[in-house]
């Protein structure tokens, strides 16, 4: 049955209500994935509706791509097929929240901003702040394994997702993990789902570990005159007992794009603790910066939420290398972009070796692929790292794989997992690594 047939439209309308099956060209085109238009956008209002839609999709072999807030829909290879976009934007309930437990169970269409507003009166937070943060959905952030400066202290979704309810390709509503902060009962299924890009199931509910908002927080920008100074300061910072909670390292273009003074490099840090400790650590930080030729100045807390602008470009790469090599890879990225004649902005996660690289400029896709993506990827993969094309126009994706090389033994296991849970490849077909 083709998705355009009236019978299917009626069947979907029966499952989720006619107003929530959208087939108008504007909605469909807004929900297109890498230029591939879905036949319809379906907006279920309850978990059971997600299940029924997927049962229908399984029996009709329809290809489905889940959608949260739609801010990161361009991550992944273009879908091999696409019939329905499953928009989870109506699933926004906070299902359970006991502040004393510091755990919340929420529907995954809820935005990070919406969740933050719910937690703020209790001075608690979900410690995830990916660029573009507040507007992004909890489910999308988890499915894409997105993270931001808070990763420095609190980790990523893999550290914060305790339990997950998801709907398998055959419509089975499934639960994995636990609703308490510590559990080793059975396999850690939530770990499998974080970063799986909707290829194994559709995340519908997340049980999240929360943290107290520190009583006091201050933020600094440490301006650094050179890569050498940045490297030395960063090494010293990581090797001392200071406990920043957020950290981000930007290059000149990244700083300028984020509206900050364009030094060669600047390390942005915040320290959250009791007021006395913030003051004391702040003094130590300023002294440490001074010994490495850096200059620490206070910045407003609002700077953090604007960092996404540093890498908000049509082409964005994500490089992960060994943490100690961070400055080397930042230099390499700048050099490769320079040879192409592209303007590049860098936003890095110190301590984790991850760099987001934005490229601006009008270059032929084949050149961007051949002269930017491929050489950088070859170099970092040779050292056990990876380079993912986080965002790119479809014509660039047609000349280079989004994910890069996955070692074949590992990919074999991933394929067995995918085949086990989605044998007909209905969930986000072709979008993930190795064409999964």
């Amino acid at each position: 049955m083709a998705v355009s047939t009236p019978a299917l439209h009626d069947a979907l309308a029966e499952l989720v209500g006619r107003p929530h099956v959208l087939r108008d060209p504007v909605t469909r085109s807004r929900s297109a994935v890498d230029g591939v238009m879905p036949g319809a956008v379906v907006r279920p209002g309850r978990v059971e509706e997600v299940s029924r839609v997927l049962v229908l999709c399984a029996s009709e072999r329809l290809a489905v791509v889940p959608r949260g807030a739609g801010t990161t829909q361009d991550l992944g290879n273009p879908p091999r097929r696409l019939d329905l976009v499953l928009d989870l934007g109506r699933l926004t309930a906070v299902r359970e929240y006991v502040p004393e437990d510091m755990v919340a169970t929420v529907e995954t269409g809820l935005t990070l901003g919406g969740l933050a507003a719910h937690l703020a009166p209790h001075r608690q937070m979900l410690a995830l702040d990916p660029p573009g943060g507040a507007a992004r959905s909890v489910g999308g952030v988890l499915a894409t394994h997105a993270s931001g400066p808070l990763r420095f202290r609190y980790g990523t979704g893999r550290d914060l997702l305790l339990g997950a309810r998801f709907v398998q390709a055959d419509g089975t509503i499934t639960w994995g993990g636990a609703k308490v902060v510590k559990s080793v009962t059975g396999y850690d299924v939530p770990k499998l789902l974080v970063g799986s890009l909707g290829t194994l199931g559709v995340l519908v509910e997340a049980t999240l570990r929360l943290h107290p908002v520190p009583p006091a927080t201050r933020s600094w920008q440490v301006a650094l005159p050179s890569a050498g100074a940045a490297r030395a300061f960063l090494a010293a910072l990581l090797d001392c007992p200071l406990q920043p909670d957020r950290a981000a390292l930007l290059d000149t273009t990244g700083l300028r794009r984020a509206g900050l003074a364009p030094n060669p490099f600047a390390l942005l840090l915040s320290i959250g603790s009791v007021a006395e400790a913030v003051e004391e650590q702040g003094r130590a930080l300023e002294a440490l910066a001074g010994t490495h030729g850096g200059r620490a100045t206070g910045i407003a807390d609002a700077v953090w939420s604007g960092l996404g602008a540093a890498v908000d470009s049509p082409i964005r790469l994500r490089l992960a290398g060994e943490p100690r090599r961070l400055l080397d890879w930042m230099g390499e990225a700048q050099a490769v972009a320079g040879r192409l004649g592209a303007e590049a902005g860098l936003l890095a996660q110190p301590g984790h070796g991850v760099i987001q690289m934005a490229a601006w400029g009008s270059h032929e896709p084949r050149r961007v692929g051949g002269e930017l993506v491929e050489p950088l990827r070859a170099a970092v993969e040779a050292e056990g790292g990876s380079l993912v094309v986080e965002r790119a126009p479809a014509d660039l994706k047609s000349v280079c794989d989004v994910w890069g090389t996955i070692n074949s033994e590992t990919l074999t296991i991933m394929k067995r997992i995918k085949t086990e849970f989605d044998p007909r490849s209905c969930l986000s077909p072709g979008r993930f690594v190795g064409g999964l």
């Binding site: 006991v98 004393e100 437990d101 980790g155 398998q168 055959d170 089975t172 499934t174 639960w175 994995g176 636990a178 308490v180 902060v181 510590k182 559990s183 080793v184 009962t185 059975g186 396999y187 850690d188 299924v189 770990k191 499998l192 970063g195 799986s196 943290h211 107290p212 009583p215 990581l238 090797d239 001392c240 007992p241 603790s273 009791v274 006395e276 400790a277 003051e279 004391e280 650590q281 992960a320 290398g321 060994e322 100690r324 070796g353 790292g385 990876s386 993912v388 890069g404 996955i406 070692n407 033994e409 590992t410 074999t412 296991i413 991933m414 067995r416 997992i417 086990e420 849970f421 690594v433």
Partner: protein, 481 residues
Amino acid sequence: MPLSPQVLRELERIVGAAGLIVSREGLLTYECDMHTFYKGAPEAVVLPESAAQVAEIVRLCRGERVPIVPRGSGTGLIGGAMAPAGGVMVSMTRMNRIVEIDFANRCATVQPGLINLWLSQATREGGYFFAPDPSSQMVSSIGGNASTNAGGPHCLKYGITVNHILGLEVVTGAGELVRLGGKTHERPGYDLTGVMVGAEGTLGLVTGVIVRLTHLPESVKTILASFSTIEDASETVSAIIRAGIIPAALEMLDEVVIRAIEEGIHAGYPKGAGAVLLIELDGPVAEIEAQAAPIEAICREHLALEIRVARSEAERALLWKGRKEAAGVFGRLTPNWLLQDAVVPRSKLPEIMRELQAIGARHRVVIANVFHAGDGNLHPLICYDDRVPGELERAKAANDDLLHACLRLGGSVTGEHGVGLDKCESLPLQFAEADLNFMARLRRAFDPDSIMNPGKLLPSHPACGEGFRPVARPLPAGTWI
């Protein structure tokens, strides 16, 4: 079914005569882990020295449909590292080296048999430690910690083992030698490292581990607060967490355990107290000083009898010795015991402790408590004497009631010990059939012939609901199950 002479010859070829144990006396050492209730000796124990040998062993066993049971130090508490179906046990004790300490990347590469504490000792000079600290850390292995996703007192602040594993080298049940994760902190694809940690050897054997190293805190403050009742101590725990303070560790010991520790170890715990809290803060000096004041105030509000701060590293070490070696004094309390590891949401701690006392009274059993109060992870020790008719049955009834009570409050069957043989039949209390099916199928993706640690982690008869297909090549009846 005994192993064929040919399989034994092959095993000897792979690991050498010195790495193969087949004598009856030799095998007895391996018939159980620390949960001595469950016994099952393997037909052979092999002690490989390399990942390549492990891969050969798995391929051999897979070809012959022989079950494989991994074993680290054998300190588990769940009937995990024992062989109910016989087969070959792979002991990692000869693979116990630190391969590399890489301070610049804040990580270390180790072999699975390395003792947990050795790594922290080796990195202390450099200013680092390995944060997961199960009470067994003097003897338990990092491979075992990874396979059970071990916890420990300090995981309240630092997270459990999985939060500290960057990469694994494993041999899957299909015989593939694969490297998952690595020194880089993210890579495209499914998080197979995260799935493998805590899988209790049912997906494959861990042959190498890359762990995160954590910087030593600037300072540490250890506070001992005693209370006349366990209710006051429980309310104190909830109040500390409610105040937004997450100590590095927050442990509770009840009267029965305190008495036994004092008789056995003389850790300096106040005799006669109904409960003590061991509270540790670590971090920058200013932070812990500022947090200690409200914690002491909360303790006093909840009628603390005494608040004592360790004045020296020696005093601190003694307080921790009492806690960490508590299991060693259980023998003074009771000839036999059942040990629970259930978890409750932390706000439910006062409620579950009241319930626990009622359950003990109802079934006329002594229940002793020493546990990770800060994250709601209970370790009730249900005492019985198997020479007295009926005591075991009463202890089991109390155990069941307690587990059900924890789950009714929204908890979990096991917080850090794992499932093993001991708890696999309890999983349906926490998971629906569909959830268990998902796990059974996930297992099959790594171990298509179900040879890896069979009978552990999942219920013995995984529900055969929708979507579940039996193993493609069923074993001949009576082979080894």
